[in-house]
Amino acid sequence: MRASSFSIAGLGNLLALLAVNGSLSYAFFDQFYFGELPCPLCLLQRLAYVLIGIALIMNIRFGAHNAHYGWGFLGGVIGMMVSLRQILLHIMPGDAGFGNTFLELHFYTWAFLGFLSLIAAQAILLMLPSQGVRNHAWFARLLVIWFILLVFGNVISTLLECGIGPCADDPVTYDGFHWLRQHIGF
């Protein structure tokens, strides 16, 4: 019997990676277009999205495996922990919250919903047959390359924003860039 090339779990992994890439790309759009620098907790939330993304690209490159989904769940739980922490920081009545809003919700609230959705999506994907998830087609490669470029962009952006130490609580300038210019002549 010929194996079918179409896999619902494979499609689900690609769509989940598309969602991760979209979220990280929108975060960059907000950073560069609106000039809003990410706070330390926002950076940790980006990192949690990156952890989920790595779990998804492992499924796409190597095939579905419980260990990959495990890392994805761990990334989702860590992301929920950080974003919930930030929600609780601004939960008092009268608190304007931190940063811009999107469709009347702050980004950290959207991030919480995103982590919740990605955990649920991975739980469903884990229940589906795992054949056909490994995918080296051009669309899958494009998504993986897009994701790698986003992670690389985050390395550079965070280095320029924070330098090699901790970031400012409410960053308004690229302190790391000034630090690098002073110490390395960059």
């Binding site: 330390p40 907790l41 950076l43 940790l44 990192l47 949690a48 990156v50 952890l51 993304g53 790595i54 690209i57 492992m58 490159r61 190597f62 260990a67 890392w71 761990l74 990334g75 860590i78 922990m81 950080v82 922490r85 920081l89 993986v144 994701f147 790698i148 992670v151 690389f152 985050n154 390395v155 965070t158 280095l159 924070c162 330098g163 090699i164 130490g165 901790p166 970031c167 609580d169 790391g176």
Partner: protein
């Protein structure tokens, strides 16, 4: 705070070049650094009682 992004980038490159176990190692390192930074920001740095 750029260090966990750097280890995550190395993990993604390990995945691209199909070095699965090495990718797991860097992924674990990323999680550890992330948790240290989270603890720093959630306790000492922001000085908010949990």
């Amino acid at each position: 705070m750029f260090l966990p992004f750097l280890t995550a980038l190395i993990a993604t490159l390990c995945v691209w070049y199909e070095r699965r176990l090495l990718a797991f190692g860097f992924l674990g390192l990323t999680v550890l650094i992330l948790l240290v930074w989270f603890r720093f920001h959630a306790t000492t740095h922001l000085n908010i009682s949990l």
